[in-house]
């Protein structure tokens, strides 16, 4: 699905990602954990093609193509999806117009017909129901005035309607109450199948109780410093990051 090789990236001249290697295959769920500021969101943004970040070295092979030079909208149409840690508000643009445009862009890219108004409505209703979303949120402006939890759900609604190949979820669990967490996890599990993959960025084990990862990686100062299975997350929950940091050769 995606193969990240020796990825280095700068923001405003400072190197944040310092050589990341990661391979995610279809059907897998990878969790990425790590202390604040370690570069998790940076990695997510770089994968999605945010222009503030400059890739200085390395490759991102997505579906057998190096996408380092690919524009973000093209990556999205190719099936790469990022659920934002801080979803953006777009005043005056209704959620449904936005979603419909996105769906059609992706369909067009696949050479498919535009979705009919009827099918679109049915699709949205179905997915909103999975997430227990109030239907009034669909007609409101994108994320405007949404509560923190509503914004996160809205991200997952987009995930379910756009149905990408690779979903990168950046702290989708933060700001969710415990019931919402379960609902959102249920949504992600519904999305997941053998042909797609998920990269989950999270700080908390509790999300991983509901979405079981195949691999857990620890990102620290722009590098993956430890990888393991779901038990690594349990260990982190118990012991924190200190012990891993101490294992590092040039720990300061």
């Amino acid at each position: 699905m995606i193969k990240i090789k020796n990825l280095h990236a700068n923001v405003e001249g400072t190197e944040i990602l310092k050589g990341i290697d990661l391979e995610v295959n279809p059907g897998e769920i990878h969790a990425i954990m790590g202390p604040n500021g370690s570069g998790k969101s940076t990695l997510a943004n770089v994968l999605a093609g945010h222009e503030s970040y400059e890739v200085t070295e390395g490759e991102i092979i997505f579906e057998n193509k190096n996408i380092v030079e690919m524009a973000p909208d093209e990556r999205a149409r190719e099936g790469l999806f990022l659920a934002f840690q801080y979803p953006i508000e777009i005043p005056g643009v209704s959620n449904s117009v936005f979603l419909k445009t996105a769906i059609n862009e992706i369909r067009k890219h696949k050479g498919e017909e535009e979705i009919s108004a009827k099918d679109f409505l049915a699709l949205i209703r179905e997915k909103a129901e999975v997430l227990g979303m109030d239907s009034s949120l669909i007609s409101r402006s994108v994320n405007q005035g949404f509560s923190g939890g509503e914004k996160k759900r809205n991200e997952i609604l987009q995930l379910l309607t756009l149905n990408p190949k690779l979903a990168i979820l950046d702290e989708t669990d933060s700001g969710l109450d415990i019931d919402a967490l379960k609902i959102v996890a249920h949504g992600v599990n519904k999305f997941k199948n053998d042909n797609n993959a998920v990269i989950l960025v999270t700080h908390y084990q509790r999300l991983l109780d509901y979405i079981i990862p195949d691999f857990v990686h620890v990102l620290y100062k722009g590098k993956i410093v430890k990888s393991g299975d779901k038990n690594l997350a349990l260990e982190l929950e118990e012991r924190g990051y200190d012990w891993i940091i101490k294992e590092q050769p040039q720990a300061v």
Binding site: E51, A71, F84, I88, E105, I106
Partner: protein, 485 residues
């Protein structure tokens, strides 16, 4: 809408693609007047139009006043001094088409027509290509007019009105914008070329949007346009001015006047799309647009609503205003002003509250891109007797890039302590984060910008008649093309 009217509109729609005359075209076959302005020229203009003596005198009075005053310089605009003696004040009649087919038209212009979805035949007319289809144009106009006439509505050119409805014109012209109002108003009053006249009798709801189907001829009104709309008690009219197609004109200076009069319980909705040539990317050659638009809510419970989408002109100087004289009268101003490249816009409104319980709403959306400057200038004035007057103003500016400017100049003059006045202003940048978010959902940067901008303008577009709103959205997209990314 009645069946009959629907049919009329259909008939007109089917044939707007052909050239037609509907009474707005004066039958002058002569050449242009010499350059310069003096009393003799004004008398000649008046004579050409077969105007009654009082009209000639009226023009002269305006001219004499104009001579005594100076061009205003308070607006945040810069331009080279206009040499008023180097202008021609009487336009030549419409020239014969110069081109034989659309193949000879500037491809960039054609591309724009295409994007706006302007029908082929209309494209030809707009770009000066000969149209060979023969159609009895007079009959369309006549049908249209007779539908209106049945209801007692008068809709004709101001020149015709001066001749045929002299009493009405005499009573109202200059009653809202006096000849002495300002420099450009005085100039217009002296030399106005043509424009529209609308009269809606008591109790009549005008059954169609006026002027929707006349955009081609709207081009012929000349550089000193003058419009007068009168709505008697309990009447309603919605008037559309302008055209989304790019309007080119060899006359650089445009100075129009629009006067609206709403009597008791009457409502006038006036919508404008202004897309005069903005000049090239270096800012050369665009139109200077100095407009005085004002409406008076004369009667109790009357309402005037201005909606404008301003994308063209190299300079826009324009403040559609409402005088809220009747008790409980309502004034509204909804505006989108877009500037790009080197365009300058200084636009806004004045809401003058005189009657009791009067209410005004101002929603202004300014979008600046390139090296342009976009200013909102608004006055809310509450008179001594205007108890319980209420105003709400919201002025939002959006910047694209960091070489453009947005400015807000709100003025308040409150002489009655019971007034409630609220003002909100925001300035935002088209956020890279917003664009990235939309990009990340597969939407291209160009579409993303359009989406964001349209969202920003939504409250204003919601006030435009449906089809106009759709065109306005497309127009915005074209005006801002290539300004981000």
């Amino acid at each position: 809408m009645s069946e009959e009217i629907r049919e009329d509109i259909k008939l007109i729609e089917d044939h707007t693609s052909q050239e037609y005359k509907y009474g707005f075209v004066t039958d002058i076959e002569e050449d242009e007047f010499p350059k310069g302005l003096n009393e003799d020229i004004i008398r000649k203009i008046s004579a050409k139009k077969n105007e009654p003596e009082w009209m000639t005198e009226w023009r002269l009075k305006a001219y004499r006043h104009w001579l005594t005053i100076k061009e205003p310089n308070w607006a945040k605009i810069h331009h080279e001094k206009i040499d008023y003696q180097n202008l021609r004040y009487y336009a030549a009649p419409k020239k014969k088409p110069e081109l034989e087919s659309l193949d000879q038209v500037d491809p960039e212009l054609l591309a724009t027509f295409e994007k706006l979805g302007i029908p082929l035949e209309e494209q030809k007319i707009l770009s000066g290509v000969a149209v060979d289809a023969v159609f009895d144009s007079v009959s369309v106009a006549t049908t249209f007019k007779s539908t209106l006439a049945e209801k007692g509505i008068i809709f004709c050119s101001i020149s015709e009105a001066i001749r045929e409805h002299s009493e009405l014109v005499k009573k109202y012209m200059g009653s809202v914008v006096p000849q002495t109002d300002n420099y450009f108003a005085a100039l217009n009053s002296a030399v106005f070329s043509d424009g529209s006249f609308v009269y809606i009798p008591k109790g009549v709801r005008c059954p169609m949007e006026l002027s929707t189907y006349f955009r081609i001829n709207a081009m012929d009104t000349g550089q000193f346009e003058r419009t007068l709309i009168i709505a008697e008690d309990d009447s309603y009219v919605s008037y559309l001015e302008g055209c989304t197609a790019p309007m080119r004109d060899t006359n650089q200076l445009h100075a129009a006047i629009v006067e609206l009069v709403a009597h008791e319980n009457a409502e006038i909705k006036y919508s404008t799309v202004q897309n005069w040539f903005p000049g090239d990317k270096q800012g050369k050659g665009g139109i200077y647009n100095f407009v005085t638009k004002r409406g008076i809510c004369k009667g109790n419970n009357s309402k005037i609503s201005w909606t404008q989408v301003e994308t063209g002109s190299s300079i826009t100087w324009k403040y559609p205003s409402c005088i809220l004289q009747g008790d409980n009268s309502v004034g509204e101003f909804y505006s989108v002003a877009v500037t790009n490249n080197y365009q300058q816009a200084d636009t806004g409104t004045k809401m003058i509250h005189l009657g009791k319980n009067t209410k005004s709403t101002i929603i202004s959306k300014g979008i600046s891109a390139g090296r342009s400057n976009n200013s909102y200038r608004g006055l809310v004035k509450v008179g001594k007797n205007a108890s319980n007057a209420r105003n709400f103003s919201q002025c939002d500016s959006m910047l694209m890039g960091d070489q453009c400017g947005a400015h807000t100049f709100p003025y308040l003059e409150i002489d009655n302590s019971s007034a409630t006045v609220e003002h909100e202003a925001t300035t935002s940048k088209v956020g890279e984060d917003q664009i990235f978010y939309l990009n990340q959902r597969g939407i291209s940067t160009e579409d993303a910008v359009n989406m964001i901008v349209n969202g920003f303008c939504k409250e204003v577009f919601n006030n435009l008649p449906m089809e106009f709103a759709v065109e306005a959205q497309k127009l915005l997209a074209i005006s801002l093309e290539g300004s981000v990314g």
